[in-house]
Symmetry: C2
Subunit: 420 residues, 2 copies
């Protein structure tokens, strides 16, 4: 396989990404949320590209766009490739879209070369992953996996519209067709696996100077709210020794979290929000509320870090005569990528890129949900400065080519494995 051929495929992919990137609910920036008017246009556009590629296209009850290529032999299992078509507000054009459009372009290339795969293939554009419109994420992949609950349908957006209403209007604006909660799209034994291509959204590949890496696991995540309570006081008249400064306690906690994570890679610990109360320059803070975000690919390590920081918060509070509350608001276990499928993907990376690297994903992805249904593997693609969720999100043409090259090899390799 010549790299040149993927150069021109990469230019095609880049063009499709740009076209899709213009499909937005807002003028001048890219925002495409669950079942919005832009989402309908996006599904129509991407569905068209799927059809041109020879896929048969349908939309499921959650608005997921599914393009299917049947296997030559009936009863063959299905490989699912995909990612999400919704975006955050003021998004970049790669997050999600890359994992839907890249498989389409890779498939075009394979078909043009006359390669026939011995398995069925589905390319899925999930309708919702970012959790922007409703206070819930992964609605698309959960629908595809048969994991939508009644509580999900009752969630409301900022206009008071529920997920259920939204879905009924999606299938028929006049409300004549009944909407039915979907069962999972496939039983696990029908599936070969789920493979997701996604931008890294971090700086590791760039730092290592390589285009693509293989994801080892999607990190577990704990989010907590930490509140220190002291005593507000006059900044001029309260001697240092008599203060109970909640912000100073909060500052110590910020540094304790940072210092712990520095000592224990790949643990990451982030305090991104710190609010001092009353928050006036001439008043000693009586209260400080902090966010804590902890992630690690190994759940044990994450939970140990949580215990350490909870105890650090208590020690800080005791030493400073502060009150403290430490409340875990979210706790998601990590999801390991499947060893078999991931090893196969790594071989493709090594074969086409020369060397491979394995890295954990600190962000969540549709693969988290799909792992309940099928073996999963993920390919990360380098993005400029690790920037994501912003208009400056960027992937070089050369890296698009490298990723196409790898996915091409992976599909051929998987085909050979099944034949052999």
């Amino acid at each position: 396989m010549k790299r040149d051929s993927f150069g021109s495929a990469a230019l095609v992919l880049d063009r499709l990404l740009r076209e899709l990137g213009r499909v937005s609910d807002e003028k001048g920036s890219l925002t495409r949320t669950f079942l919005s008017p832009a989402m309908r246009r996006a599904n129509r556009m991407v569905g068209g590209w799927m059809r041109e590629t020879g896929l048969s296209v349908r939309e499921d009850a959650l608005g997921n766009l599914i393009g299917r290529l049947e296997a030559p032999r009936p009863g063959a299992r299905t490989l699912v490739l995909g990612s999400h078509l919704d975006t955050v507000r003021d998004a970049g054009r790669f997050d999600g879209a890359l994992g839907v459009l890249l498989p389409i372009v890779a498939l075009r290339h394979l078909r043009r070369e006359g390669v026939r795969l011995p398995f069925a293939l589905e390319v899925v554009g999930f309708s919702e992953e970012e959790g922007v419109r409703f206070p819930s994420a992964y609605l698309g992949s959960r629908g595809y996996s048969g994991r939508i609950r009644s509580a999900d349908l009752a969630l409301r957006d900022e206009n008071g519209i529920t997920v259920g209403q939204c879905l009924r209007r999606w299938i028929d604006p006049r409300g004549r067709r009944a909407w039915k909660r979907p069962a999972r799209a496939h039983s696990p034994r029908e599936l070969l696996g789920y493979v997701e291509v996604h931008i890294e959204q971090g700086p590791v590949l760039e730092k290592r100077g390589i285009s693509c890496g293989v994801v080892s696991a999607i990190a577990g995540q704990t989010r907590a709210r930490v509140i220190f309570l002291g005593r507000a006081g006059h900044a001029g008249t309260t001697p240092m020794a008599l203060r109970r400064d909640a912000l100073a306690g909060g500052a110590e906690f910020v540094l304790a979290a940072e210092s712990l994570a520095r000592k224990r890679p790949p643990l990451v610990a982030t305090v991104g929000r710190l609010e001092a109360r009353p928050g006036a320059g001439n008043v000693i803070a009586g209260g400080a509320e902090l966010s804590l975000d902890l992630r690690h690919p190994a759940d044990g390590s994450r939970l140990e870090a949580l215990r350490t920081l909870r105890s650090a918060a208590r020690q800080i509070a005791r030493r400073r005569r502060l009150g403290v509350s430490f409340q875990v608001t979210q706790d998601n276990p990590s999801v390991a990528c499947s060893p078999g499928l991931t090893a196969l993907l790594s071989r493709s990376v090594k074969a086409r890129q020369g060397r491979s690297m394995s890295l954990p994903s600190g962000a969540g992805h549709d693969g988290v949900v799909l792992s309940s249904l099928a073996p999963i593997a993920m390919l990360f693609v380098r993005c400029r400065a690790g920037a994501s969720h912003c208009p400056s999100e960027h992937v070089k043409i050369g890296d698009l080519a490298a990723a196409l090259d790898i996915v091409d090899d992976f599909l051929r390799r998987l085909a050979r494995d099944l034949h052999g």
Copy 2:
């Protein structure tokens, strides 16, 4: 002098403080700002109490309420006693009001005892000290001292009304009387001094277990805005080693300021405001803006602390690869109380309270402005838990009695000094 007599005077003073504390621009809480409707009612109420005490009452061009008792002998100098009648929002009833009402009650007591003072006496309720309505403080005492500039008159409140308009409406709502910028009320040689009684607004007297203390100096104050700039990033996908976390830099600065001030009493350093940007739990902060408030009775020590913290901010930024901006927004030198008048006041404190203590004032007071016109002395009165600028501000009846007792002694002592 029997303490009992001041017990009943203290009850009177407490009643007047309560009555005045109900004169508010807001229902259910005490807020009385410069030249507001409540301020007009307050001046009328306090003016009435001044007249009952035998003072002749006038209002000057800044809305200051001035009650004057002439000396028996023409040409005698004037002692000014006073504080401010405006309040912060949701204030306590002692801050300011105590220094206006206590001299009135003390004077009633002296007159009832038949004591005639050989000097003239003015009790002044300054119309503005807190800087709430307009972005400026000390308008009242600056007017009294002849230090109002054109720029002050052009300042606007949140409704767009200027100080000048406000003053013209104050003297005549129909705008027929011309308003004239006032010269100082007295030339320095007409004045014996200015004495202000004020709650401490801090916990030092309570900690020492005494009712009153004498102020040595009003601390100088530097306020600065410190901004750290790093790079925002994904909390899950950016390894610790590659972060440029502005909030972590800000946290280090909070602790550097605290640690420096702890080592160098009576320096106080406060970061009361810390804003992380964008301020989301799952985003590494790309920016952090902090307030810094530094106070010390000795200007040299304050400025040395400022240099030290400026350099600490630079070091933190360099080590963390952050940008930093350090901008001084306010810089007021300290004001020493007058040695002569303060020594006299200290003798009264020792005589009536048994022991005295000298303490700096971390907060600014009208005395700062009056020091340009006359020797000043200040008496601090213990307040519960050091709380001020809040409804829980409280002074015990016994401490009101102690302060009345001391001021009574001070006036007699000053009279003897002048006779002797």
